[in-house]
Subunit: 215 residues, 2 copies
């Protein structure tokens, strides 16, 4: 009679329960396919095969190809938000603080599983406008906000001279992403390891602080 519509995690429903690991496997396979070959070239059939899942399961869960991309974007964005949250630690000096922040960011960006992401999304942005916007907010947007706050605080303390913190934040993000990103994208160099990433971040921070040091 009275259906227990409990909004808790315990389903307590009849029938075979959904296997959440399959959802993860599908999204992992979709990531590989979409990022590696682009949205159009990726095939649901191969995604299903690689995920060890029936094609029908994908359609049951995500509706269609666009829905699968939508879900993937959401997961990646959440993932990024989490990573960024963990990066915002306090440290002794501003320099160390920035280096930590940048290292976390670049380690994330220069990861095989995320690297092709925006390239695909950019091409698809006309068809997936809100998805692209959401990803920007979760990734670069959040990054800019956090960094802007940090820089404004440092300016107030007198550590640096940064009258326009948002613009400065964009400068630093540009220096970090920078040319290494270009070389990577065109396959001129290999993916850098942690040591190279840290060195690159340090260099960016140094240049940045030289430009914005207190007079």
């Amino acid at each position: 009679m009275t259906d227990e519509d409990s909004d808790t995690e315990a389903p307590a429903r009849a029938g075979r329960p959904t296997d959440e690991r399959k959802t993860e496997a599908i999204l992992d396979a979709a990531r590989e396919a979409f990022f590696g070959q682009g949205y159009a070239a990726a095939s649901i059939e191969r995604i299903a095969e690689q995920a060890g899942v029936s094609k029908v399961t994908i359609y049951k869960r995500f509706g269609d190809k666009a829905g699968l991309l939508e879900a993937l974007v959401r997961r990646q964005a959440d993932n990024m938000t989490t990573t960024i949250g963990e990066a915002n630690r306090d440290a002794a000096t501003l320099e160390v603080q920035l280096v930590n922040f940048g290292f976390t960011l670049l380690s994330f960006l220069f990861d095989e599983s995320h690297f092709h992401f925006d390239s695909m999304l950019v091409i698809e942005r006309d068809r997936q406008r809100e998805a692209a916007q959401r990803f920007f907010d979760a990734g670069p947007g959040t990054m800019r906000r956090e960094l802007t706050k940090m820089l404004a605080a440092a300016h107030k303390r007198g550590d640096v001279h940064i009258p326009q913190p948002q613009r400065a934040a964009e400068d630093l993000l540009s220096l970090w992403k920078g040319f290494a990103d270009l070389e990577l994208r065109f396959g001129v160099v290999d993916m850098p390891g942690p040591a190279r990433i840290r060195s690159h971040v340090r260099h960016g921070v140094k240049v940045f602080l030289r430009a914005y040091r207190a007079e």
Copy 2:
């Protein structure tokens, strides 16, 4: 009015001569399609239609889809080389010199017809490795070389303190391309006009020169 062609070389061959304007029209249409939708999603049939050309003509001239992309990449790379060559003018001060250089570069990069180029190429780079490399050499690679030379000369003159000119060139290129590029790619802002571009370039140069000024 009939135009008498006297500039071009006479083919002096029998039969109907090839219409070079058709080649251009095909490449223009291919650019729109490839850059806008990506390689896989673009269709030769629609490219032919948009170019006002028979599909067979495309196959006669370019062999297949990959050949068409190949030719397109080559044309874009040549185009870029030409533009960069024109940008390298001497000017009174280093600052003016850099601003001119950057303005030419960004005007080219932030043009609708080139903007999606690397996004497509990145996804296709595994299948079109040499095309990607060629484009990198013609574009960012040349840019870095030219800029490195300019900065090394300025360092020798004592105008600035740049012991590692190539790294500094990468920094400046990063600052220029920077965050505006990201916002554009995700559709957060519209394509900037010349005024905004010049302002952005100026800012980049200022930050750069503050960081690398002579002590």
